[in-house]
Symmetry: none
Subunit: 243 residues, 2 copies
């Protein structure tokens, strides 16, 4: 896994200290820790600490700088977040593309976010190698600053985890899928009980049994489940109560 | 593009009204508008409106309900967010997989988020067809509620915009997935018959019913199949033969 320590989040002139805290929390939850603040209006601040919840370590390690140029001086790739398409046809990436490019870069990568209201200035965007746009609702593209940081950090984590993300389940207890002959035994049992109850016409059992097979095959029955289902069939078998 | 109106965000017992507002803002920025609140502690509330910024229309249209079952009654697919892996190996999806599945579903889809501190209870997770886990830092998996909603809404938007993602299945006849209230009716019926047959101890029905729910939820029952299963239950009901 690409080390997430190579990714830096840069906030340029954040106005609300609460947003700095919420951004730190979003970073830490996604495994990032390198936060740089360019001329924050109020920092440190109680609101920042409150919203950071358990991510105060990220806040405490944050560096404060006067200009964006200083904040990204040691970076190989600088990606600037932009709320709207710019005049010049710069290369706009969505967060997923930006994260892939970040992961493919050897050195430090900075993801830069502008002021809550006005974003990044043109001279700041010019410092960036790539522009990033979160594909938002054109009628209401108003993402909260920390929410934008959350989305980008999430994509960085997803890209860094890469193929190692355990597809589908695999979390939790190990399950044993039933063997075909056990499942066939269940279908035979089911058909017998359905015929005995007169729900199924023994002359033409095909269609109903096919539908039921389709249902249970789709579920990919486990051994324990086949045992439960057969226990239920035995308990409900009308022949039992007649004997 | 798959219409984002088919997606509902459900917040179960949110404790901080500010989080409701921030969730509404996250939704609107991603083009979603259907918000359901289950027993919110304080709503409406000034903090909710403040954090919603320009998304008060989403707040005003939000529905308040007493139980999760009511909030998802008309949904074809219900995905529950879970912060940790559960004992039973339920099918865990990451937000991207969940969004793809949501887009491949014809009817209403609910994405369900639990309480800030404690998440969803087991009986609430049992109502869900799929479980969703945001792949977070194992040492600090503390996503803010609105941040989690933001990530999921972002993936829903990306999937809806993408559409090039080939939906699974889509081959063969068009099927109508059963609605949650129909499936719940089946579970109630199943439990009654199992108790009547003495297969299920009415004093402690939980574990067996959870296993059976897990099996049938995994199969994503169609309306026709629910009807067949209930027909079978009626035919096998031991109370019938006694009458």
């Amino acid at each position: 896994m690409k080390t997430l320590e190579n990714f830096r989040i840069v906030l340029v002139e954040p106005q609300h200290p609460g947003n700095i805290g919420a951004a730190a929390r979003a970073m830490k939850a996604m495994g990032l820790s390198d936060l740089a603040l360019v001329a924050p209006r109020s920092f440190p601040h109680a609101d920042a600490s409150a919203r950071a919840a358990g991510a105060d370590d990220v806040l405490q390690a944050a560096t404060c700088l006067d200009t964006l140029a200083e904040a990204v001086a040691d970076c190989q790739l600088v990606v600037g977040a932009s709320a709207r398409a710019r005049r010049l046809a710069w290369q706009n990436l969505d967060p997923r593309q930006a994260a892939q490019e970040a992961c493919a870069t050897a050195g430090k990568v900075a993801m830069v976010f502008g002021r809550e209201r006005s974003g990044l200035r043109n001279d700041e965007l010019d410092l960036c190698h790539r522009h990033l746009m979160i594909p938002a609702n054109p009628e209401y593209a108003s993402l909260n600053l920390a929410a934008a940081v959350q989305v980008v950090c999430y994509e960085l984590r997803m890209a860094a985890l890469g193929e190692q993300v355990p597809a589908q389940s695999s979390v939790g207890e190990q399950v044993e899928l039933a063997r075909v002959e056990d499942i066939e035994g269940f279908y035979t049992h089911l058909q017998e009980v359905l015929v005995a109850s007169e729900f199924l016409d023994p002359e033409k059992p095909r269609k109903l049994m096919r539908r039921l097979r389709r249902l249970y095959n789709r579920a990919e029955l486990e051994t324990t489940e086949v045992n439960i289902l057969r226990g239920i069939l035995t308990a409900l078998d009308p022949r039992k109560s007649q004997s």
